[in-house]
């Protein structure tokens, strides 16, 4: 058995896997890594199955050591990685000798980096997932200095080769994000100008952003129907418009029902880029059709 000792946890470091879809009827958010692809790539680089639990590190600052030599990989928001003070590769498997400190610096772009450890982080599962959704009170608490976690109890596969794909995962923060979204379910609750603003204006992410949702800044989206909406189910990516008219795009730990109308829903494939976007990032919505008619 290998253990990982946490020396510094940075701003917010959470154990994450692919979450617990299918439990929203119990009020349980899907949760899981905000950027599935980066976690999956890190897992693949160290030979883990895709569902292995790793650590999601918001804005770097994580420092850990292991009591046995182990293999790790850091992906997602690009940052300097050191072992025992010496720079090592980002986005590729790295050997960390026993009792030597692994340090994640500060990311130069994006928000969340992912640390995968060969064998995975081992924590008790709740409803089939090791993932942490702190606002919902589910899963392990955020990591803190002094924590000791078990590592390596998981099933192992052979380390797959990592190549050009990892570089792509680091993300290209240049230019505005373009988010594909379906209109509705409540687009008819809004004034025609609101639909036009949503689909043509340049929006900006704000500092009011966490795993529950990302608030956007832009023209006020006015409602045509002003009476109260009875609570209804919502999904990650829902663009909910509260009374202020400034939309919030729901993240992995969103409440499972909401009482404000949802004007559009961002497709799942585009959510990681939004969750990784720093405050002030420009973005545009482009309307796509749902997969049914």
């Amino acid at each position: 058995m290998t253990t990982m000792q946490v020396h510094a946890a940075g701003r917010l470091s959470l154990v994450q896997d692919l979450g617990r879809p299918g439990q929203a009827a119990l009020g349980v958010p899907r949760g899981g890594a905000a950027d599935h692809r980066s976690l999956a790539l890190a897992n693949r680089a160290v030979g883990n199955p895709g569902e292995a639990a790793g650590v999601e590190v918001l804005l770097g600052g994580l420092e850990v050591e292991f009591d046995h030599s182990t293999v790790v990989c850091v992906t997602g928001a690009p940052l300097g990685v050191t072992v025992h003070g010496k720079p090592v590769a980002f986005g590729a498997p790295v050997v960390v000798p026993a009792a030597q400190r692994l340090t994640l610096g500060a990311p130069t772009a994006s928000l969340r980096s992912y640390l995968a450890i060969r064998g995975g982080v081992s924590v008790p599962h709740v409803l089939g997932s090791a993932g942490s959704s702190p606002t919902a009170g589910i899963g392990p608490a955020p990591l803190k200095a002094g924590d000791v976690l078990t590592v390596g109890a998981g099933e192992r596969t052979i380390a797959a080769g990592v190549g050009s794909e990892l570089v792509a995962a680091i993300g290209d923060p240049h230019g505005d994000l373009v988010l594909m979204a379906t209109l509705g379910p409540r687009d008819d609750w809004f004034a025609p100008t609101a639909i036009r603003y949503l689909t043509t204006a340049r929006w900006k992410t704000t500092p009011q952003a966490d795993r529950v949702g990302v608030r956007l800044e832009g023209p006020v989206l006015e409602r045509a129907v002003t009476h109260e909406l009875p609570s209804e189910g919502v999904v990650p990516g829902s663009v909910q418009v509260p009374a202020s008219g400034q939309p919030i795009v729901f993240g992995p730990d969103h409440p499972t029902t909401g009482g404000y109308p949802v004007i559009a829903v961002v497709r799942e494939a585009d959510l990681a880029a939004l969750y990784q976007a720093r405050p002030g990032t420009g973005l545009r919505f482009r309307v796509i059709a749902p997969r049914w008619h």
Binding site: A25, G27, G137, S231, E232, G233, V234, V235, T257, V266
Partner: protein
Amino acid sequence: MILLPCGENGVLVELDDGTERRRLDSALRHAAVPGITEGLIIEQVPATRTVLLRTDNPQAVVDALREVDIHSLPEPDEGSAENVTIPVSYDGEDLAEVAALLGITPAEVVERHTGQVWTVEFSGFAPGFGYLLGEHHNLSVPRRSSPRTRIPPGSVGLAGDFSGVYPKASPGGWQLIGRTEVAMWDPDRQEPALLAPGKRVRFVSVDAPVGADVEAEGTR
């Protein structure tokens, strides 16, 4: 029945009222809708008048729903629903206020709350928070005008037609009438959420006279 898009793979089904919603939600959960095969629906989230469905094959779900005559679906089988008894100390901070709003005494509030079967209509707000609807609709009160910043876990509240129990400490605007020791959410339980949609709930007063039928089901 209106079908609304909710993302590429989601369908928000809007029904005319709570009765229709209950009927469709129950039929879907019991695989009683022709064309909706096992595993087709990944996630089903009932709410006031809607059922949200997530699926990998939205066209198949939509095609099946368009063939559904809501009135021909079987009634939710209430006899088979699991029953939960929740013992409550009726000493909530808003008990007197609730009584005043309804023009009755605090004791009558307790009588009404314990004197009917409540059904878990849907969840939301927090893991394990069930929106409970009573049979008699005689405890309707507005939310507090100013929400509390911290409500202790186990607090039993009222808002609108609903009753609910706070699973964990959280802010909230419901009128508090009592508290229970029973955990609404316990990750170490086989089923962490005590109040899953469809369950039927009876509240009993722990201050009830000796000899009253106080069960402690649901505490396991």
